[in-house]
Amino acid sequence: MKMDNKQPFDLHGFFRDFLMTDNEALIDRLVECSRLVKRKKGEILFSPGVTCSCTVFLLDGVIKTYIRSPDGTENTLSFMFRPGTCVAMHEDMINIPKTWCKTMTPCTLIEMSPGPYELADEFPELWKHLVTGWRPFYYGMMDKLRVGYTLTAKERYLWFLDKYAPIIDYVPQAEIARFLGIKPQSLSRIRNELAEEGRDRS
């Protein structure tokens, strides 16, 4: 997942490929609103209280979205790690449920402001990209619900190993347990069982 730091990053090329568009005016506008940044582990990308949408493209690293309990517990909604993942959160999606987003490792990101929701009135084709861009987030969120309702604890952990294999080593076990709705002691037991079966890849 490491970026090539030797070459300057081609934002025009990135947006041209990402949107599969030859609308140069749109690409220029997106580049104008974007900057390539490096974030350290633990940096907040957005948090409740925003006054506009927040959009980042993950190029390298791992980030998570979460909701904070009153005691400070970070209840993860999703982990994102695939290079090219776009997180485009409307301000209602941040402020109403009080969603946070932070880096779990050093990350390289494209941060965009204003974002596609604000730019879509100027470039209506962005509305279509928002629909297609939302789908992985939606499927991820819904599938996690399904897993919680329909799978046993062990099956949930196997689902997690399958879906998040590339980032297993970056997510603390206590956090995995919380994400899956499993008690930490139960997760330890499950991992021991799987290790005996030769199935725990973490």
């Binding site: 909701i67 449920p97 279509k128 629909v131 789908r135």
Partner: protein, 180 residues
């Protein structure tokens, strides 16, 4: 655009308990709720209906693609007799390829659903049982009399006995909970 969309729509009446869409869908589903209450849920292996949300406001636009239904295996049923506009033979996603202004309507129409799901997660993570029930009453007051108490308890992650206790406390405090 309006004529093009309307030509694919018809008004239907669904009876209480009718399925509006279910896993195994072979087409996208597009529904506008005019009257009544529907819910979306995921079925546990033991048959428990785990509600994701209730919809009741007239004009609510519900348009999952077949992937949005099938991947997480989501159901949608009528909780009361309902009047709906159903789109047949196409969907806003397909129509939007020819009528691009529909993409904006899809985004704005589906945003409340995503926000509602995330808001429910927040309520579960941040509130005690009594506060969760009060949130429910605030969010779903117009339909709180229609939803069985054990279903409300399940939706809020509260044991039914705990919900009964909470309701009794609220009555003592002078609050009038729903009649169900």
């Amino acid at each position: 655009m309006i004529s093009a969309v309307a030509s694919h729509c018809h008004i239907v009446t669904k009876e209480k308990g009718d399925t509006i869409w279910a896993p195994g869908a072979t087409e996208d589903s597009t529904t506008i709720l005019l009257d009544g209450v529907v819910k979306t849920f995921i079925l546990s292996p033991d048959g428990t209906e785990n509600t994701m949300t209730f919809w009741f406001k007239p004009g609510t636009f519900i348009c999952p693609t077949k992937e949005m239904i099938n991947i997480p295996e989501i159901w949608c049923v009528a909780l009361t007799q309902c009047t709906l506009i159903e789109m047949v033979g196409t969907s806003p996603y397909k129509m939007a390829e020819d009528i691009p202004v529909l993409w904006k309507e899809i985004v704005l129409g589906t945003l409340p659903f995503a926000v509602r799901i995330m808001e429910k997660a927040r309520v579960g993570y941040t509130m005690e049982a009594k506060d969760r029930y009060l949130w429910f009453l605030d969010t779903f007051r117009p339909i709180a009399d229609i939803i069985p108490q054990n279903e409300i308890a399940l939706y809020l992650g509260i044991k039914p006995q705990s919900l009964s206790r909470i309701r009794a406390e609220l009555i003592k405090e002078g609050f009038t909970p729903p009649k169900n």
